[in-house]
């Protein structure tokens, strides 16, 4: 699972470079993303490349916010495709994770 990380002050931005997050790659994604965010608190996922996500992929993202909130941090998302957003809304993920239209908005939300 390819991903690219960037740090802006104390905020970690993770660009997910896979077009799918689903049962087939969820286990590898979970292992790798938890390694990436293990010492972070303020994390943003850039989902611009992701066009298909299933319940397993959602489960991994939920496991990340659970981990970050336990550590006193938070997770924000941006670049969510329309179809992906429909699924997030269906399983109420948008009530648990703040979702922004742009990277700047997501960063700003951590600066407040």
């Amino acid at each position: 699972m390819e991903m690219k990380t960037e740090k802006i002050q104390d905020i970690m931005i993770v660009q997910i470079l896979s077009d799918v997050l689903e049962a087939h790659n969820a286990k590898a994604f979970k292992k790798e993303i938890h390694e990436v965010i293990k010492d972070a608190q303020k994390v943003i996922f850039d989902l611009n490349q992701v066009s298909f996500i299933d319940s397993s992929g959602c489960g991994v993202i939920l496991s990340c916010i659970k981990h970050l909130k336990t550590a006193g941090g938070d997770l924000k998302l941006f670049g969510v495709a329309k179809e992906v957003m429909t699924l997030f809304e269906l399983i109420r993920m948008h009530r648990i994770i703040d979702i922004y239209l742009s990277k700047e908005d997501a960063i700003q939300s951590f600066m407040k």
């Binding site: 799918v20 049962a23 087939h24 299933d54 959602c58 939920l62 699924l87 648990i96």
Partner: protein, 141 residues
Amino acid sequence: MKYNQQIDIECDLAALPAMRVFIRQFCENLSHPKLTDEKIHQIELAAHELVANIIQHADLNPSKDKIKISATSNHLSEEHPTLEILFLDHGKAFNPKDAPDPQFDENSVGGFGLYIIEQFIDEVIYQRVNGQNLTYIKVHL
């Protein structure tokens, strides 16, 4: 008029992308009515969740067992056209009613698959027939 296509897929999560291509292409080829991209995505995701469940929970042999999928569009009645997809596997019996309801809170990290299927599909019927699981989904077009 009926239009039918079938595919056998490996009982392996790596087969999911090919399964989705099959469902997507079948849906894209339908006309009268032409399906919207949103509807196609919903059917594709529901089929994906269903097959992922079979692969992960039916105790099938990945090197031997196949999952048979048959998609049919039914335009016999122009007023009520439907899309029906049948999934057949030889795995252990599965009753969706035994699955726990999903929890929509911060502590939940899964269990959404069946809920997604039920939300996007008009009818879901599960039957155990001659030692096989037969799952039938129907979408009103």
